[in-house]
Amino acid sequence: MLIPHPLLGPRDAQEFTYLGDASLLNRPDGMAEGALAAFCDYVYLRDNPAGVHRELWFHEQGDRSWLVVTRNTVTHEILGAELARDVALRRQK
Protein backbone atom coordinates (compact mmCIF):
# COMPACT_ATOMS: atom_id res chain seq x y z
CA MET A 1 0.00 0.00 0.00
CA LEU A 2 1.19 3.49 -0.90
CA ILE A 3 0.13 6.34 1.36
CA PRO A 4 -0.08 9.76 -0.36
CA HIS A 5 1.74 11.83 2.25
CA PRO A 6 0.60 15.48 1.96
CA LEU A 7 4.18 16.77 2.31
CA LEU A 8 6.36 13.94 0.97
CA GLY A 9 4.26 12.41 -1.78
CA PRO A 10 3.53 8.67 -2.10
CA ARG A 11 5.31 6.64 0.60
CA ASP A 12 5.33 2.88 1.26
CA ALA A 13 2.96 1.94 4.11
CA GLN A 14 5.86 -0.06 5.58
CA GLU A 15 7.41 3.23 6.74
CA PHE A 16 4.38 3.85 8.94
CA THR A 17 2.99 2.34 12.11
CA TYR A 18 -0.75 2.05 12.54
CA LEU A 19 -2.78 3.21 15.50
CA GLY A 20 -6.45 2.84 14.57
CA ASP A 21 -9.70 4.75 14.10
CA ALA A 22 -9.18 8.50 13.63
CA SER A 23 -11.86 9.13 16.26
CA LEU A 24 -9.02 8.58 18.74
CA LEU A 25 -8.20 12.25 18.07
CA ASN A 26 -11.34 13.14 20.03
CA ARG A 27 -10.08 12.42 23.50
CA PRO A 28 -12.88 12.93 26.06
CA ASP A 29 -12.64 15.52 28.82
CA GLY A 30 -11.58 13.67 31.95
CA MET A 31 -13.17 16.27 34.23
CA ALA A 32 -16.56 16.31 32.52
CA GLU A 33 -19.73 14.68 33.75
CA GLY A 34 -19.83 10.98 32.73
CA ALA A 35 -16.10 10.89 31.95
CA LEU A 36 -15.78 7.23 33.04
CA ALA A 37 -18.28 5.99 30.48
CA ALA A 38 -16.85 8.32 27.82
CA PHE A 39 -13.33 7.00 28.41
CA CYS A 40 -14.53 3.38 28.37
CA ASP A 41 -16.04 4.03 24.93
CA TYR A 42 -12.93 5.89 23.80
CA VAL A 43 -10.45 3.22 24.90
CA TYR A 44 -12.34 0.02 24.07
CA LEU A 45 -15.19 0.44 21.60
CA ARG A 46 -14.77 0.82 17.84
CA ASP A 47 -17.09 1.32 14.86
CA ASN A 48 -14.92 -1.15 12.92
CA PRO A 49 -16.63 -0.57 9.56
CA ALA A 50 -16.33 -2.70 6.45
CA GLY A 51 -15.73 -0.03 3.83
CA VAL A 52 -14.41 3.51 4.11
CA HIS A 53 -12.42 4.00 7.32
CA ARG A 54 -10.58 7.09 8.60
CA GLU A 55 -7.54 6.01 10.55
CA LEU A 56 -4.32 7.24 12.16
CA TRP A 57 -0.93 6.30 10.71
CA PHE A 58 2.40 7.49 12.16
CA HIS A 59 5.26 8.10 9.72
CA GLU A 60 7.79 6.54 12.08
CA GLN A 61 10.53 5.95 9.54
CA GLY A 62 9.92 9.25 7.79
CA ASP A 63 9.09 12.73 8.97
CA ARG A 64 7.38 11.42 12.15
CA SER A 65 4.12 13.15 11.41
CA TRP A 66 0.72 11.68 12.22
CA LEU A 67 -1.62 11.29 9.26
CA VAL A 68 -5.34 10.70 8.97
CA VAL A 69 -5.62 8.24 6.10
CA THR A 70 -8.93 7.42 4.44
CA ARG A 71 -8.88 3.82 3.29
CA ASN A 72 -11.35 1.15 2.22
CA THR A 73 -11.03 -1.82 4.59
CA VAL A 74 -12.64 -4.19 2.08
CA THR A 75 -10.30 -3.46 -0.84
CA HIS A 76 -7.30 -1.79 0.92
CA GLU A 77 -7.68 1.11 -1.55
CA ILE A 78 -6.32 4.35 -0.09
CA LEU A 79 -8.58 7.30 -0.86
CA GLY A 80 -6.62 10.15 0.69
CA ALA A 81 -4.39 11.37 3.48
CA GLU A 82 -4.01 14.59 5.44
CA LEU A 83 -1.94 15.73 8.40
CA ALA A 84 -3.63 14.78 11.65
CA ARG A 85 -2.54 18.19 12.93
CA ASP A 86 -4.68 19.92 10.31
CA VAL A 87 -7.65 17.71 11.16
CA ALA A 88 -7.33 18.47 14.87
CA LEU A 89 -6.89 22.22 14.35
CA ARG A 90 -9.88 22.35 12.00
CA ARG A 91 -11.96 20.60 14.63
CA GLN A 92 -11.03 23.18 17.29
CA LYS A 93 -12.42 26.04 15.22
Partner: protein, 416 residues
Protein backbone atom coordinates in the same frame (compact mmCIF):
# COMPACT_ATOMS: atom_id res chain seq x y z
CA UNK B 1 -25.02 -43.56 8.61
CA UNK B 2 -22.11 -44.45 10.88
CA UNK B 3 -18.53 -44.39 9.72
CA UNK B 4 -16.35 -47.36 10.62
CA UNK B 5 -13.49 -49.39 9.20
CA UNK B 6 -15.97 -52.12 8.32
CA UNK B 7 -18.09 -49.61 6.44
CA UNK B 8 -15.12 -48.37 4.40
CA UNK B 9 -14.23 -51.94 3.37
CA UNK B 10 -17.85 -52.77 2.53
CA UNK B 11 -18.15 -49.65 0.37
CA UNK B 12 -14.84 -50.37 -1.34
CA UNK B 13 -16.12 -53.80 -2.33
CA UNK B 14 -19.44 -52.47 -3.66
CA UNK B 15 -18.20 -49.57 -5.74
CA UNK B 16 -18.78 -46.80 -3.19
CA UNK B 17 -22.46 -46.62 -4.12
CA UNK B 18 -23.76 -46.42 -0.56
CA UNK B 19 -22.29 -43.08 0.54
CA UNK B 20 -24.87 -40.38 1.12
CA UNK B 21 -24.64 -36.61 1.66
CA UNK B 22 -23.48 -35.82 5.18
CA UNK B 23 -26.36 -33.44 5.92
CA UNK B 24 -29.75 -32.34 4.59
CA UNK B 25 -30.19 -28.98 2.88
CA UNK B 26 -33.51 -27.80 4.36
CA UNK B 27 -35.49 -24.62 3.74
CA UNK B 28 -35.96 -22.40 6.78
CA UNK B 29 -39.01 -22.91 8.99
CA UNK B 30 -40.95 -19.81 10.12
CA UNK B 31 -39.59 -20.06 13.68
CA UNK B 32 -37.12 -21.94 15.87
CA UNK B 33 -36.41 -22.18 19.59
CA UNK B 34 -32.76 -21.39 18.92
CA UNK B 35 -31.20 -19.64 15.94
CA UNK B 36 -27.41 -19.74 15.65
CA UNK B 37 -26.07 -17.08 13.29
CA UNK B 38 -22.90 -18.30 11.60
CA UNK B 39 -22.23 -21.76 10.14
CA UNK B 40 -18.52 -21.85 10.88
CA UNK B 41 -16.70 -24.02 13.37
CA UNK B 42 -18.03 -22.32 16.48
CA UNK B 43 -21.62 -21.99 15.24
CA UNK B 44 -21.77 -25.62 14.13
CA UNK B 45 -20.19 -26.84 17.37
CA UNK B 46 -22.69 -24.75 19.32
CA UNK B 47 -25.61 -26.27 17.42
CA UNK B 48 -24.17 -29.75 17.88
CA UNK B 49 -23.74 -29.53 21.65
CA UNK B 50 -27.02 -27.68 22.05
CA UNK B 51 -28.93 -30.44 20.25
CA UNK B 52 -26.98 -33.40 21.60
CA UNK B 53 -25.97 -32.50 25.13
CA UNK B 54 -28.32 -29.84 26.40
CA UNK B 55 -31.82 -30.20 25.05
CA UNK B 56 -34.12 -31.33 22.34
CA UNK B 57 -35.42 -28.22 20.61
CA UNK B 58 -36.00 -26.73 17.20
CA UNK B 59 -32.56 -25.38 16.25
CA UNK B 60 -31.30 -23.70 13.09
CA UNK B 61 -27.87 -22.55 11.96
CA UNK B 62 -27.98 -19.66 9.48
CA UNK B 63 -24.97 -19.30 7.20
CA UNK B 64 -24.63 -16.56 4.58
CA UNK B 65 -22.33 -18.66 2.36
CA UNK B 66 -21.57 -22.36 2.63
CA UNK B 67 -20.83 -24.23 5.85
CA UNK B 68 -17.29 -23.72 7.11
CA UNK B 69 -16.54 -20.98 4.57
CA UNK B 70 -14.84 -18.62 7.02
CA UNK B 71 -11.91 -18.97 9.36
CA UNK B 72 -12.49 -22.66 10.14
CA UNK B 73 -11.15 -23.25 6.62
CA UNK B 74 -8.42 -20.59 6.72
CA UNK B 75 -6.42 -21.25 9.89
CA UNK B 76 -3.18 -23.11 10.61
CA UNK B 77 -4.98 -26.01 12.38
CA UNK B 78 -3.08 -25.88 15.67
CA UNK B 79 -4.68 -27.18 18.86
CA UNK B 80 -3.04 -26.49 22.24
CA UNK B 81 -3.77 -25.36 25.78
CA UNK B 82 -0.60 -23.52 26.80
CA UNK B 83 -2.08 -20.33 28.24
CA UNK B 84 -1.09 -18.54 31.43
CA UNK B 85 -3.99 -16.67 32.98
CA UNK B 86 -6.72 -18.25 35.12
CA UNK B 87 -9.35 -16.63 32.87
CA UNK B 88 -7.98 -18.54 29.88
CA UNK B 89 -6.12 -21.75 30.72
CA UNK B 90 -8.99 -23.84 32.21
CA UNK B 91 -11.09 -23.04 29.14
CA UNK B 92 -8.41 -24.08 26.65
CA UNK B 93 -7.62 -27.21 28.63
CA UNK B 94 -11.33 -28.08 28.58
CA UNK B 95 -11.14 -27.64 24.81
CA UNK B 96 -8.05 -29.86 24.61
CA UNK B 97 -9.89 -32.63 26.47
CA UNK B 98 -12.83 -32.33 24.08
CA UNK B 99 -10.41 -32.58 21.12
CA UNK B 100 -9.03 -35.80 22.55
CA UNK B 101 -12.42 -37.50 22.43
CA UNK B 102 -13.85 -35.59 19.49
CA UNK B 103 -13.68 -38.21 16.75
CA UNK B 104 -15.38 -40.88 18.87
CA UNK B 105 -17.87 -38.26 20.04
CA UNK B 106 -19.13 -37.27 16.60
CA UNK B 107 -18.02 -40.35 14.63
CA UNK B 108 -16.05 -38.44 12.02
CA UNK B 109 -12.38 -38.37 11.18
CA UNK B 110 -11.09 -34.96 12.23
CA UNK B 111 -7.47 -36.19 11.97
CA UNK B 112 -6.59 -35.00 15.47
CA UNK B 113 -2.86 -35.54 15.69
CA UNK B 114 -1.21 -34.92 19.07
CA UNK B 115 2.35 -34.40 17.94
CA UNK B 116 3.11 -31.70 20.49
CA UNK B 117 3.93 -28.01 20.46
CA UNK B 118 7.41 -26.69 21.22
CA UNK B 119 7.78 -23.04 22.28
CA UNK B 120 11.44 -22.10 21.99
CA UNK B 121 13.36 -20.20 24.65
CA UNK B 122 16.10 -17.75 23.65
CA UNK B 123 16.88 -15.83 26.85
CA UNK B 124 17.06 -16.49 30.59
CA UNK B 125 14.13 -14.15 31.16
CA UNK B 126 12.08 -16.10 28.67
CA UNK B 127 12.93 -19.34 30.49
CA UNK B 128 11.55 -17.86 33.71
CA UNK B 129 8.40 -16.74 31.91
CA UNK B 130 7.88 -20.16 30.32
CA UNK B 131 8.53 -21.94 33.60
CA UNK B 132 5.78 -19.84 35.13
CA UNK B 133 3.49 -20.57 32.19
CA UNK B 134 4.24 -24.29 32.43
CA UNK B 135 3.36 -24.27 36.12
CA UNK B 136 0.10 -22.45 35.38
CA UNK B 137 -0.70 -25.12 32.79
CA UNK B 138 0.01 -27.94 35.27
CA UNK B 139 -2.23 -26.27 37.84
CA UNK B 140 -5.08 -26.28 35.32
CA UNK B 141 -4.61 -30.00 34.64
CA UNK B 142 -2.74 -29.60 31.35
CA UNK B 143 0.67 -31.11 30.60
CA UNK B 144 3.85 -29.08 30.28
CA UNK B 145 7.52 -29.92 30.24
CA UNK B 146 10.54 -27.62 30.29
CA UNK B 147 13.31 -28.83 27.98
CA UNK B 148 16.97 -27.90 28.05
CA UNK B 149 18.97 -27.19 24.93
CA UNK B 150 20.07 -30.79 24.39
CA UNK B 151 16.55 -32.10 24.70
CA UNK B 152 15.36 -29.56 22.12
CA UNK B 153 18.23 -30.57 19.83
CA UNK B 154 17.17 -34.19 20.08
CA UNK B 155 13.61 -33.26 19.13
CA UNK B 156 14.43 -30.82 16.31
CA UNK B 157 18.09 -31.03 15.27
CA UNK B 158 17.55 -28.82 12.22
CA UNK B 159 16.92 -25.62 14.20
CA UNK B 160 19.47 -22.81 14.17
CA UNK B 161 20.78 -23.29 17.72
CA UNK B 162 23.72 -20.93 17.40
CA UNK B 163 22.01 -17.93 15.84
CA UNK B 164 24.19 -15.04 17.00
CA UNK B 165 21.29 -12.89 18.16
CA UNK B 166 18.76 -15.54 19.22
CA UNK B 167 20.52 -18.73 20.35
CA UNK B 168 18.12 -21.48 21.39
CA UNK B 169 18.43 -22.17 25.11
CA UNK B 170 15.56 -24.58 25.63
CA UNK B 171 11.86 -24.95 25.16
CA UNK B 172 8.49 -25.44 26.74
CA UNK B 173 6.72 -28.43 25.27
CA UNK B 174 3.10 -29.52 25.54
CA UNK B 175 3.01 -33.05 24.18
CA UNK B 176 -0.78 -33.33 24.04
CA UNK B 177 -1.01 -30.36 21.67
CA UNK B 178 -0.93 -30.83 17.91
CA UNK B 179 -3.03 -30.25 14.83
CA UNK B 180 -6.41 -31.28 13.44
CA UNK B 181 -7.99 -31.32 9.99
CA UNK B 182 -9.82 -27.99 10.12
CA UNK B 183 -12.48 -28.65 7.47
CA UNK B 184 -13.07 -32.10 8.94
CA UNK B 185 -13.93 -30.47 12.25
CA UNK B 186 -16.57 -28.27 10.61
CA UNK B 187 -17.99 -31.20 8.62
CA UNK B 188 -18.03 -33.48 11.66
CA UNK B 189 -19.94 -30.96 13.75
CA UNK B 190 -22.28 -30.15 10.84
CA UNK B 191 -23.07 -33.81 10.27
CA UNK B 192 -23.51 -34.43 13.99
CA UNK B 193 -25.82 -31.44 14.37
CA UNK B 194 -27.86 -32.51 11.35
CA UNK B 195 -28.22 -36.05 12.74
CA UNK B 196 -29.65 -34.53 15.91
CA UNK B 197 -32.26 -32.60 13.95
CA UNK B 198 -30.61 -29.20 13.51
CA UNK B 199 -31.56 -27.36 10.31
CA UNK B 200 -28.36 -26.16 8.62
CA UNK B 201 -29.52 -23.36 6.35
CA UNK B 202 -26.96 -22.14 3.85
CA UNK B 203 -27.02 -19.06 1.59
CA UNK B 204 -29.10 -17.35 4.24
CA UNK B 205 -27.64 -14.02 5.29
CA UNK B 206 -28.93 -12.28 8.40
CA UNK B 207 -29.80 -8.70 7.43
CA UNK B 208 -31.30 -7.49 10.72
CA UNK B 209 -32.68 -8.34 14.13
CA UNK B 210 -36.30 -7.81 15.15
CA UNK B 211 -36.06 -6.39 18.65
CA UNK B 212 -39.07 -5.23 20.70
CA UNK B 213 -39.02 -3.97 24.29
CA UNK B 214 -35.35 -4.86 24.59
CA UNK B 215 -35.88 -8.47 23.58
CA UNK B 216 -35.00 -10.22 20.32
CA UNK B 217 -37.95 -11.87 18.57
CA UNK B 218 -36.23 -13.15 15.45
CA UNK B 219 -33.93 -12.33 12.58
CA UNK B 220 -34.51 -10.82 9.15
CA UNK B 221 -32.66 -12.81 6.53
CA UNK B 222 -32.13 -12.92 2.79
CA UNK B 223 -34.58 -15.85 2.86
CA UNK B 224 -37.26 -14.10 4.88
CA UNK B 225 -38.06 -13.48 8.54
CA UNK B 226 -37.25 -16.29 10.98
CA UNK B 227 -38.66 -16.14 14.50
CA UNK B 228 -36.44 -17.25 17.36
CA UNK B 229 -36.71 -17.86 21.07
CA UNK B 230 -33.03 -17.17 21.52
CA UNK B 231 -30.40 -16.03 19.04
CA UNK B 232 -26.70 -16.90 19.37
CA UNK B 233 -24.27 -14.97 17.17
CA UNK B 234 -20.98 -16.74 16.34
CA UNK B 235 -19.63 -14.83 13.34
CA UNK B 236 -16.02 -14.01 14.23
CA UNK B 237 -14.61 -11.89 11.41
CA UNK B 238 -17.89 -10.02 11.06
CA UNK B 239 -18.99 -9.62 14.69
CA UNK B 240 -18.99 -5.82 14.65
CA UNK B 241 -21.06 -5.69 11.47
CA UNK B 242 -23.66 -8.16 12.69
CA UNK B 243 -23.97 -6.74 16.19
CA UNK B 244 -24.24 -3.20 14.77
CA UNK B 245 -27.61 -4.37 13.40
CA UNK B 246 -28.63 -4.86 17.04
CA UNK B 247 -27.36 -1.38 17.90
CA UNK B 248 -24.16 -2.49 19.63
CA UNK B 249 -20.54 -1.37 19.34
CA UNK B 250 -17.98 -4.01 20.28
CA UNK B 251 -14.47 -3.83 21.74
CA UNK B 252 -13.19 -5.41 18.52
CA UNK B 253 -11.25 -4.42 15.42
CA UNK B 254 -11.00 -6.72 12.43
CA UNK B 255 -7.52 -7.42 11.09
CA UNK B 256 -6.15 -9.70 8.40
CA UNK B 257 -3.86 -12.58 9.37
CA UNK B 258 -1.93 -14.35 6.65
CA UNK B 259 -0.89 -17.99 6.52
CA UNK B 260 1.34 -19.93 4.16
CA UNK B 261 1.97 -23.44 2.96
CA UNK B 262 5.01 -24.79 1.16
CA UNK B 263 5.24 -27.57 -1.41
CA UNK B 264 4.90 -31.08 0.00
CA UNK B 265 8.06 -32.39 1.70
CA UNK B 266 9.03 -35.61 3.42
CA UNK B 267 8.21 -35.82 7.17
CA UNK B 268 10.40 -33.19 8.73
CA UNK B 269 8.80 -31.23 11.55
CA UNK B 270 7.72 -33.08 14.67
CA UNK B 271 4.57 -31.26 15.74
CA UNK B 272 4.33 -27.50 16.01
CA UNK B 273 7.35 -25.27 16.64
CA UNK B 274 7.18 -21.60 17.60
CA UNK B 275 10.04 -19.11 17.42
CA UNK B 276 10.45 -17.26 20.71
CA UNK B 277 12.34 -14.23 19.43
CA UNK B 278 10.13 -13.26 16.50
CA UNK B 279 6.61 -14.15 15.59
CA UNK B 280 6.80 -17.34 13.55
CA UNK B 281 5.20 -20.75 13.98
CA UNK B 282 5.37 -23.81 11.77
CA UNK B 283 3.93 -27.30 11.53
CA UNK B 284 3.74 -29.90 8.79
CA UNK B 285 0.48 -31.06 7.29
CA UNK B 286 -0.28 -34.72 6.61
CA UNK B 287 0.25 -34.01 2.91
CA UNK B 288 3.75 -32.79 3.74
CA UNK B 289 3.39 -29.06 3.25
CA UNK B 290 4.98 -26.80 5.84
CA UNK B 291 2.17 -24.68 7.27
CA UNK B 292 3.38 -21.47 8.84
CA UNK B 293 2.44 -17.94 9.81
CA UNK B 294 3.31 -14.92 11.91
CA UNK B 295 1.91 -11.50 12.71
CA UNK B 296 -1.30 -9.87 11.59
CA UNK B 297 -0.83 -7.18 8.93
CA UNK B 298 -1.68 -4.59 11.55
CA UNK B 299 -4.40 -2.39 10.04
CA UNK B 300 -8.18 -2.73 9.99
CA UNK B 301 -9.19 -5.05 7.18
CA UNK B 302 -12.10 -7.06 5.86
CA UNK B 303 -10.16 -8.21 2.78
CA UNK B 304 -9.24 -11.88 3.00
CA UNK B 305 -5.76 -11.17 1.73
CA UNK B 306 -2.75 -9.33 3.10
CA UNK B 307 0.25 -7.43 1.81
CA UNK B 308 3.88 -8.28 1.05
CA UNK B 309 5.70 -6.67 4.03
CA UNK B 310 4.24 -9.22 6.45
CA UNK B 311 5.09 -12.07 4.07
CA UNK B 312 8.69 -10.85 4.12
CA UNK B 313 8.62 -10.59 7.93
CA UNK B 314 7.29 -14.14 8.31
CA UNK B 315 9.88 -15.47 5.86
CA UNK B 316 12.65 -13.74 7.83
CA UNK B 317 11.38 -15.36 11.04
CA UNK B 318 11.44 -18.74 9.33
CA UNK B 319 14.95 -18.22 8.01
CA UNK B 320 16.22 -17.17 11.45
CA UNK B 321 14.71 -20.25 13.08
CA UNK B 322 15.38 -22.97 10.51
CA UNK B 323 17.50 -21.79 7.56
CA UNK B 324 16.67 -24.89 5.52
CA UNK B 325 13.16 -23.53 5.02
CA UNK B 326 14.72 -21.23 2.42
CA UNK B 327 15.04 -24.24 0.09
CA UNK B 328 11.30 -24.96 0.16
CA UNK B 329 9.08 -23.25 -2.36
CA UNK B 330 5.99 -21.39 -1.21
CA UNK B 331 2.88 -22.97 -2.63
CA UNK B 332 0.06 -20.78 -1.35
CA UNK B 333 -0.59 -17.76 0.86
CA UNK B 334 -3.97 -16.62 2.07
CA UNK B 335 -5.57 -14.35 4.64
CA UNK B 336 -8.38 -14.60 7.16
CA UNK B 337 -10.21 -11.87 9.04
CA UNK B 338 -9.67 -11.93 12.80
CA UNK B 339 -11.88 -10.47 15.49
CA UNK B 340 -9.10 -8.73 17.42
CA UNK B 341 -10.52 -7.95 20.85
CA UNK B 342 -9.06 -5.20 22.99
CA UNK B 343 -7.37 -7.55 25.47
CA UNK B 344 -6.61 -10.52 23.23
CA UNK B 345 -9.28 -12.70 24.84
CA UNK B 346 -12.65 -13.84 23.43
CA UNK B 347 -16.16 -12.98 24.56
CA UNK B 348 -18.87 -15.57 25.30
CA UNK B 349 -21.71 -13.79 27.04
CA UNK B 350 -25.26 -12.54 26.98
CA UNK B 351 -25.81 -9.04 25.59
CA UNK B 352 -27.92 -6.10 26.82
CA UNK B 353 -30.61 -7.29 24.37
CA UNK B 354 -32.74 -10.03 25.93
CA UNK B 355 -32.41 -13.41 24.23
CA UNK B 356 -29.41 -12.31 22.17
CA UNK B 357 -26.06 -13.96 22.94
CA UNK B 358 -22.59 -13.26 21.59
CA UNK B 359 -19.58 -15.46 20.83
CA UNK B 360 -16.82 -13.24 19.39
CA UNK B 361 -13.35 -11.76 19.69
CA UNK B 362 -11.29 -14.89 19.04
CA UNK B 363 -8.19 -13.08 17.80
CA UNK B 364 -5.77 -15.72 16.41
CA UNK B 365 -7.02 -18.40 18.73
CA UNK B 366 -10.42 -19.52 17.53
CA UNK B 367 -9.62 -22.85 15.95
CA UNK B 368 -8.22 -24.62 19.00
CA UNK B 369 -11.17 -23.30 21.00
CA UNK B 370 -13.84 -24.68 18.65
CA UNK B 371 -15.09 -27.59 20.82
CA UNK B 372 -15.09 -25.73 24.15
CA UNK B 373 -16.48 -22.57 22.57
CA UNK B 374 -19.37 -24.55 21.11
CA UNK B 375 -19.95 -26.39 24.38
CA UNK B 376 -19.82 -23.27 26.55
CA UNK B 377 -21.96 -21.22 24.17
CA UNK B 378 -24.55 -24.01 24.00
CA UNK B 379 -24.50 -24.16 27.81
CA UNK B 380 -25.12 -20.41 27.98
CA UNK B 381 -27.93 -20.53 25.42
CA UNK B 382 -29.63 -23.55 26.99
CA UNK B 383 -29.34 -22.66 30.67
CA UNK B 384 -28.89 -18.89 30.66
CA UNK B 385 -25.89 -19.52 32.90
CA UNK B 386 -22.25 -19.05 31.95
CA UNK B 387 -20.22 -22.25 31.70
CA UNK B 388 -17.65 -22.47 34.47
CA UNK B 389 -14.67 -22.22 32.10
CA UNK B 390 -15.89 -19.01 30.41
CA UNK B 391 -17.04 -17.08 33.47
CA UNK B 392 -14.34 -14.43 32.98
CA UNK B 393 -14.95 -14.00 29.22
CA UNK B 394 -17.64 -11.42 29.75
CA UNK B 395 -18.66 -8.63 27.42
CA UNK B 396 -18.69 -6.06 30.24
CA UNK B 397 -15.21 -6.93 31.55
CA UNK B 398 -13.73 -3.90 29.78
CA UNK B 399 -15.89 -1.29 31.49
CA UNK B 400 -15.56 -3.14 34.80
CA UNK B 401 -11.78 -3.25 34.54
CA UNK B 402 -11.42 -7.05 34.50
CA UNK B 403 -9.62 -7.49 31.19
CA UNK B 404 -7.87 -10.81 30.55
CA UNK B 405 -4.64 -9.49 29.15
CA UNK B 406 -2.56 -12.60 28.42
CA UNK B 407 0.32 -10.55 26.99
CA UNK B 408 0.21 -7.79 29.62
CA UNK B 409 0.22 -5.07 26.98
CA UNK B 410 -2.90 -3.07 27.73
CA UNK B 411 -5.82 -2.12 25.58
CA UNK B 412 -4.94 -2.57 21.96
CA UNK B 413 -6.41 -4.75 19.28
CA UNK B 414 -3.19 -6.24 17.96
CA UNK B 415 -2.66 -8.90 20.60
CA UNK B 416 -2.70 -12.64 20.16
Amino acid sequence: MRFSGFRVIAEALTGHKGWKPLWRNPDPQPAYDYVIVGGGGHGLATAYYLAKTFRKARIAVLEKGWLGSGNIGRNTTIIRSNYLLPGNEPFYEFSMKLWEGLEQEFNFNAMVSQRGILNLIHTDGQRDAYRRRGNAMLLAGADAELLNRDQVREMAPFLNFDNARFPIKGGLVQRRAGTARHDGVAWGYARGADLHGVDLIQNCEVTGFRIENGRVLGVETSRGYIGAGKVGVAVAGNSSRVMAMAGMRLPIENHVLQAFVSEGLKPLIPGVITFGAGHFYVSQSDKGGLVFGGDIDGYNSYAQRGNLPVIEDVAEGGMALMPMIGRARLLRAWGGIMDMSMDGTPIIDKTPVGGLYLNAGWCYGGFKATPASGYAFAHLLATGQTHDTTRFMRLDRFERGYVIDEKGMGAQPNLH
